[in-house]
Symmetry: D2
Subunit: 471 residues, 4 copies
C-alpha cells in the first residue's frame, strides 16, 4: 500500500480562518481533522490585527498545543499547518507556518505540495545575500516576496507566486489580510468555507465539518484569494492550465468524509470498488480492505459482487513518534505493529483483500502472509489504482524508478513475490471513470503521471534532486 | 451510545506473560492492543526470577512507557494493566498493577471488573489495623492474601479469592509464579495463549494476535491457573455457577477482532445487525453506524436489508487527556469533537443510523441532529441492544436508575426526545440469539441484568455505594 | 569533607504549618529554605479541615511543585519534607510525606532521622499481616498507630512513638490536627514558630526567617505537640534523657543562618575557627574555607589569627539530578565539577585550607592537589571537627569502620595521603567549648559518638544492618 | 543593588573551543561556569569539520542539555552562549548561537554586549530584502557577512565587524575555523586559553579553571583571532582606541574567581572594601555584605576597619524560571524570596551593610528594613561604586534617567528613602584606584560613563531606543 513508503502516507495540510474571535481554537480543531495528512509537526500563527504570534513544534496537534497555548494565541485570524515527515529536512525550524518579523510588520506563511524549481530559486537568492533559516520550500516564497520590487504587498505576492513551479496550496498572512493561492494546475485540494461571518480555507472539506463551517467553493487553479475585514476578493496570478488533481488524493490521502471538487472521497472509493468488481469478478467468501483507505473500496466491491464484507484486518492505532517499535526478533516471532488479522473472520475462507496501491511490495507480501497464517485458504489481492510505474515530482516520495516494483516486474511476477492467489490492478480508464470528474479531456482533470508517465507540467532537471516533498 | 457515560466506554484490561526473554516488550504490545479498554493509566510489573520491579503512570501505553523503561524492565515474566477512568479514585496510586515488597519477597497484582463486597471487606481489614495505600479493589485481595493463615502461597490466594464477590479477572505474580483467576460466574473475558514456550493471558484475544501468540483456551469460571517455569497447572477455587458473560462485551467493549468464548466480536455484531434487519425492516437509502461499535452492526444490517452501507459518520481520533475540549460557545456553533457527519453521503438521503445503546439519550440526540443538519431527510435509529433499564453492579458505571432514560420513558417518548423519525431497540431474545452462545439456559450464559433486572449474583446492600467500577 | 560520602551531605528536613490560608505556599518556601538538607525528592500533604491531599516527586522543590500544584493544594495546614538520597530505597514511593486514606479519615506523616529498631518492628508487623508500601521508616510509625489498641488518636500516636528507638523528628497530620514529636535524646533540631495566628514547625529556624515567622521555642526531647484550631498543647510521650544533639548539625548540616538550641550556626562555626587558631597557629599568607560549611570557620580563623581571609575555592552551583557528570578522561584533564580553585588568590601563597571533616580522605587529597596546581606554595589543612573514628547509627551514612580513614590511620599518615604540608583536627574539648552549649555534663548536650564511640542510646544488633539513614 | 533591575544582573556569556575531541562536553562545563551571566537560555553549535549542528533552548545549561544531546553534539569544536533575559525579544528564536545553513556551507554565531547602531543597520538590510529571523543583534552581523562583497570569508567578517558600533565579544564558527572578535574599546572581557592542544575562549577566566584550561592572554580590543587546525592567528579589524572596560564587570557581573585584564575580581572587590574603609570609617559591631557581589567587599572592609565580618544576609538559591514567586500578600507578611537576614548575627548590633550599587533604591530599602526587623540597632549602608547617574548604552539596562534614583535625589534624600542610619558611595577616584588597572589615562581603561556621563564612544540617536541589551 502507499503507506509503505515513508513520507508518502502523509501529504501536509493547511488551514486558515479570518474574522472569528476564537480563531486559534477553530484552527486547532481544523488541524486536528487534517492530522492524517501530517503527523511529524504542526504549528499556528495568529493575528489580532496588530501583531502576529505563533507556536509550533514536532508532534501531533494535541501534543504541540496546550490549552494555555491556545488561550495565548488569541486573535481574529490564524493559519496553521500539519507536517508530514522529516524527509527533506526535519527539526523544529522546518515546522510550519514560518513567521517573519520585519520592522515594517510581520508575515506568516505555510504551504503543502512540492515546488520543482525550489533549488534553483534558492541558489539564486543565496547568491544575492539572502539567508535561509530553514530547508523548507515555503521560505523561498518569503524571500521572493521581500525581494520583489513591486509597491503593493499583493503585487509582490503575485510576482513571487508566478516564479514558482509545481504543486502547491499557499497561505500567507499579515496583520491585515490572509492570502490564499493554488497552483495553476490545481494539483492539490483547497477549499473555501464560511462559519458565521468568518471565512475558512482548508486542504480538505472534512475540516469544515468539524468546525461547523459551510462549504462555499473550491479555490481555482491560479487563483489568489485576498481575505480581510471587508470580505473575500479573487484575483488570478496565473492562467489555469492543464488541470491535474492528484489521483492519489481520492485513492489514498484524503479522509473519506472530504469532498474534492465536489466528489465525496468515500463515494469515489466505493465506486473504485464497484469498478474493480466489474473488471475483476472473483469467487470468494469474504471481502476485506486494508484500513483505512481500502475499507470503502472493499465495501463497494462487496456490494457490487454480492460477497459479504468483513473486517479481516484491524489497524492498531499506535500513536506518533513515541511508540516503541518491535525489535527484529520480535517481528519475526509475529509481533504486529500496524495491522492485525481477524482470525475469527478469515479462518477457512477465500478472501478478497483490497488495497490502494503497491509500491515496493513488501507490505503486500506481509499482509497476504498474515491472512494465510490466520487461516485464509485463498487470498486475492485487488488494487484500487493502476500500477505505479513513474516517479512523482509533486509531493509523493516515490523516489526513483528502481524502487517501484511495478516499473520493474510484470503483474504475474509481483503476484508471485507477494504470495497472492491472484493479483489485479484497476485500469487507468476504470480509475478515471470511477472517480467520475467532469473536466474535459482524457484525464478528466486528474494527474495520472505516476501511472502513465505523462506529467502535467514541464519537468526541470533539478526536479530529479528535489523530488522529496518539502511542504 | 454507551460511550456517553464517562467511565463506561472503557473496562480495564489485563495482560500477562511467563517464560519469554522479551516479557516487557511483549506486554507493551499486548497492553497497546487492549488500549480501548482503558486510557487513563497503565502499568507493568516484571520479574527476572529474583525480584519484581515495575513502572506505572497516568496516560496511554505509549505515553507511560519509554523505550528506556522497557529496557530496564527486563525479565522473563510480566503482568500489565490498562485502567479506564478516574472514577472511583484516580491518581498515580490507583494505577495498576500494584506492587508490594515484603521482607520475604514481593507480589504484583492487577485485575479488571468490580467487586461488590469490596467496601465490606475493606472495613473489616482496616478494623484489624491494615493500611490501604489505594482505593483500588485490587488491594483488598492483597491484604486478604497476607492475612490468610494458610501455609502455602497458593492456598492463601485461593482463600482470598473465595472471599470476593463480583465480576473479576485477577493476575497475581511473585518472583516464581504467575496466578490467573476468573470469577465463578465468568463475567469477564480472559483467555490463555502460547507464544513459543511462553504462556500469555489477556482480557481479549486480540492481544494474542498482535504479539503472535496462539490461542489455547478461555480461562474457566472459578478457575485458578498457576503458571511457572514448569508450565501451567489448573485448580478450581470455587464452583462455576450461573455463567453470565457481560453482554456489553460483545455489543460495545471488546475489539471486533477478539473472540469471546469462541465467538468473534465483529461477527456477533454483524449478526446483531442482521437480527435488527429481521426485526425492524426499514425503507431507507443508506445505512450507517456510529463508530466504532456500530460499524459492524450497520454492515450486517445493510447486507441483510439490501440497503447500501455508507460511512455517514466519521470518528475523530482525538488523543487522550491532553486534547483540548471545545468551549460551550464553539460547540453551539457546530464544532465537533468526536464525530463528524459525512455530508457527501447523507445529504438528501433517508438514513438508518445504528448505535450500540442509549443511556441518557443526549448523545443520540446530538447525532440525529448532526445528520439532519448535514442534509439527511429521515433518520431512523436502530439500537443493537435492548433498553438499559437497570443499574450494573459489575463494572459498568450506569449509576442510578434516575440517569437511565429507558428506565423512565417509553420508547416513543425517547424517540421524540432524540428527534428521530423512528427508534427501535433489539429484543432481548434477538440479542441472545444473534450473539449465539451455546450455554444451556434462558440467557445462554449471558448477563442480561441491565436489560432485565435479573442479576446473576446475590446483591449486597453496600453494592449500591460501590457500583462505580474500580478495576 | 563530610560531603564526600553519598547520602551524608544531606539529612532530610521537615516543615509544617497549621492555621494559615496559604499553607501550601508557606510550606513551599519553607521547604525551599531546607533544600540543603535533601535534594533527592520532596513532597507536601495539605488539609482544608475536611480531607487530605498531597503531591510528591523526585527532584528539587522547584522541580516537583508547579504553581498549579500549589494552587490545587489549597488548605489551612500542611506538612512537607525534603529527602536526602536514594540510599535505603529510592523511588517515588519512598518520597515523603506518606499519605494514607482510611474509610474513617486520612493521615499524613513525615520524619527525618533514623530509627535503630526499624527492621525489628517491621518484621513483627509484617508477621501480623501488615503490608508495607515503602521501605521508609516513616511507614513503621503509621502501622504502629493503626495497630495500637488505644481509643484516642493521640494515645495511639504516643504509644507508637514510645516503641521507636533512635534519632527522629516526626510530623503527623490528620484533617483536624498536626502532631509534632522529637526523640527523647533530642538528637535532631526541631523548632516551633508563629506567623500571625498560624503555627509553624521546621527542622531549622532558617525556614522561619524565609516565611516571616517568629521563633517561639525549640521542641523538647520526648515532647509531643498537638496543634489544632485551638492552638498548641504540649504533652510528653517519653522522659527526656541523655540530651545529645548531633554535633555535625553545627559543623556541617545546618544553614549558617539557623539557630540550634539558641546558638547561631554561623557563629558556632566562626568560634570553631577561632578555637582552631588557638589550638593550631600557623604561619601563612591566606586563609580559605571549603564552601559552604568551611567558609564561616575560615573567617573565624582569619580573624583570630590575623591572616587575610580569601575566597580560594569557589563552589560551582550545579543543579540536581540532571547535571551531566564529566567523564573520567575529562576529570583527569582537570574538568572540575563541584569546586574550582581561585588562581588569582592562591598563586604563590602559603594557604590555610579549612574543611569540616575528613571521612575517606579522597576529596581532601583532590582539593589540596587543586590548590597546589593553582600555585599555592604550601597547603595547611585544618579540620573543624575531631577525627571521625566510629560509625553513626542515627542518620549519617558513615557505614563501617573500614571506610573511615581516621579509624585506620594516624594523622601523620593521613597528612601524607592527602599531600598537605600540615594537617590538624580540632580537639573534642575544643569542639564542645567552641559550640558553647549550656547543658550540664561532659558533652554539654552534644552527641560526640562518631568521635568518641560513646553512643547516647542503647545500640540494637539490627542497627548494624540499619545504619543507612532512611528518613 | 544592581540586581534590582531586571535584565541587569546578567550580562550574557560566550564560550568556544577548537581542537578537542570532547568539544561539546567542554563547552557544557564552560557555559555552566558562566551561568551567572545569563539564566534565560543557552545554546551550542558544534562542528566535526564537515557540518555544523546545534541545540538551544530556554532555561539553564543543565535544563537545556541532556546527556544524550551532548553525545549527539559530537565534534572537535564548539561555540556556546548563555543568555540573560527576555528583554529585547525573548523566545526560542533569540537564544544563541544562531546557526545558518547555506548551500555552500554553514555558520554559527553568538555574541555578548550591545550594538548601538543595530537598528540602523537592520533597517538598511531589510530595505535591501534581507529577512531577519530573530530580533537579536547577532543576526545583523550574519547578514553583513553574507552581503559583503569580499572574496574571502575572513575579509567578509572583518568588513562586517567594522560596521558595528558598541560593546561586544563575537564568536563566528564555520566547518573549518573559529573567529573571535572584541570591540575596539575593549568594553567586555574575553580571554584565550589552552587545554592540551585545543584552544578555548571565554567571557571569563573562571571558565578556564573549571575545564582545566590554562590562561594564555586576553583578546585585544579590535582584534580578530582566527583559530583552526593550524593554530591561532591574530589580525586587527580596527584600531584599538579609548580602552574602556565596563567597571561593573569588576563590581558586579563577573565571578570572584575570574581575572579581568590580569586583575582578580575577588581581590578587586576586597580592595574596594578597603578603600571604603579608608573613605568612610564607621563605628559598628559587625560588617556584612549583600551576596554575592557584596561579600568580598565586606570582607575587605572588615579586614581594614578591624570590625568582625559576619554573614548577616543569606541568599536563597532559588532556581530559574520555574520557581514560584510569593504572592504580594505573602511578601507583605514577610516571605523572603532572595535574601534572608541572619537574626542570630545582627540582633542588637550596629551593622555595616555593603552593597554593589543603588539603582532605584527599592531593594536597598527592603534590605535595610529586613535587618532592622531582625534586630539591628543601626544599619550603615556602604556602596562599592559611585552613584549611577547616567544611562548605559553598552549592555546594562539602566534605561532612562528617570529611573535612576541617584540622578534625581541627593545622597541624604536617598538615605532617608531607604531608611539607613548612614549612606556612603565610593568616590570615582577611589573606585579606579581600588580596581587598580595600569592603563594610561584618567579612567585607567575603565568605562565610568554611568557615573560620569562621559561615554567612551560616539552615541547615535538610535541608541536611545536601543539601549536594552540584546546580546
Amino acid at each position: 500500500m502507499l503507506a509503505e513508503i515513508k513520507g508518502l502516507n502523509e501529504e501536509c495540510g493547511v488551514f486558515g480562518v479570518w474574522g472569528h474571535p476564537d480563531a486559534s481554537q477553530i484552527t486547532y480543531y481544523g488541524l486536528h481533522s487534517l492530522q492524517h495528512r501530517g503527523q511529524e509537526g504542526t504549528g499556528m500563527v495568529v493575528t489580532d490585527g496588530k501583531k502576529l504570534k505563533g507556536k509550533k513544534g514536532e508532534g501531533l496537534v494535541n501534543e504541540v498545543f496546550s490549552a494555555e497555548d491556545i488561550n495565548e494565541l488569541n486573535g481574529k485570524a490564524a493559519i496553521g499547518h500539519v507536517r508530514y515527515s522529516t524527509a527533506g529536512g526535519g527539526g523544529y525550524e522546518n515546522v510550519q507556518p514560518l513567521l517573519f518579523h520585519f520592522q515594517s510588520g510581520s508575515m506568516g506563511l505555510c504551504h503543502n505540495g512540492n515546488l520543482i524549481n525550489a533549488t534553483a530559486l534558492r541558489n539564486q537568492l543565496e547568491g544575492q545575500g539572502s539567508i535561509f533559516q530553514t530547508s523548507s520550500d515555503t521560505e523561498v516564497l518569503a524571500h521572493l516576496i521581500r525581494r520583489g520590487g513591486y509597491a503593493s504587498f499583493k503585487d509582490r505576492v503575485k510576482y513571487a507566486l508566478s516564479m514558482l513551479k509545481g504543486a502547491y496550496a499557499f497561505l500567507v498572512m499579515t496583520e491585515t489580510e490572509l492570502m490564499v493561492a493554488l497552483d495553476p494546475n490545481g494539483m492539490r485540494p483547497l477549499s473555501l468555507g464560511k462559519i458565521g461571518d468568518a471565512y475558512v480555507v482548508a486542504s480538505e472539506t472534512c475540516a469544515f465539518d468539524i468546525v461547523g463551517a459551510q462549504f462555499i467553493r473550491d479555490v481555482e487553479p491560479g487563483e489568489l484569494l485576498i481575505i480581510d475585514d471587508n470580505g473575500v476578493r479573487s484575483e488570478m496570478f496565473a492562467m489555469a492550465s492543464n488541470i491535474a488533481m492528484c489521483t492519489m488524493e481520492y485513492i489514498y490521502f484524503s479522509r473519506p468524509d472530504s469532498n474534492i471538487n465536489g466528489i465525496n472521497v468515500h463515494t469515489a472509493r466505493k465506486n473504485l470498488g464497484k469498478q474493480l468488481a466489474f473488471e475483476f469478478p472473483i469467487e470468494a467468501d469474504v471481502v476485506t480492505g486494508v484500513p483505512d483507505s481500502g475499507t470503502s473500496v472493499a465495501i463497494g466491491y462487496a456490494e457490487a459482487a454480492g460477497i459479504p464484507y468483513e473486517m479481516g484486518l484491524i489497524k492498531n492505532r499506535y500513536v506518533g513518534r513515541t511508540f516503541i517499535k518491535p525489535s527484529q526478533s520480535l517481528r519475526e516471532q509475529g509481533v504486529k505493529m500496524k495491522l492485525s488479522p481477524v482470525r475469527g473472520v478469515v479462518e477457512g475462507k477465500r478472501v478478497v483483500m483490497v488495497d490502494d496501491s503497491i509500491v515496493r511490495g513488501t507490505t503486500s507480501r506481509r499482509i497476504v502472509n498474515m491472512l494465510k497464517e490466520a487461516g485464509a485458504t485463498e487470498v486475492h489481492v485487488l488494487i484500487s489504482s493502476p500500477p505505479i510505474q513513474h516517479p512523482c515530482f509533486y509531493g509523493i516520495d516515490t523516489s526513483t524508478k528502481e524502487e517501484l516494483i511495478a516499473a520493474n516486474y510484470s503483474i504475474e511476477e509481483i503476484r508471485q513475490m507477494i504470495g497472492a492467489d491472484s493479483l489485479s490492478f484497476l485500469s487507468v480508464e476504470g480509475t478515471v471513470k470511477a472517480i467520475g470528474r467532469k473536466e474535459v479531456g482524457d484525464t478528466c482533470g486528474q494527474c495520472l503521471a505516476c501511472f502513465t508517465g505523462k506529467y502535467p507540467t514541464e519537468i526541470y532537471p533539478s526536479s530529479i534532486d528535489n523530488q522529496v516533498p518539502t511542504c
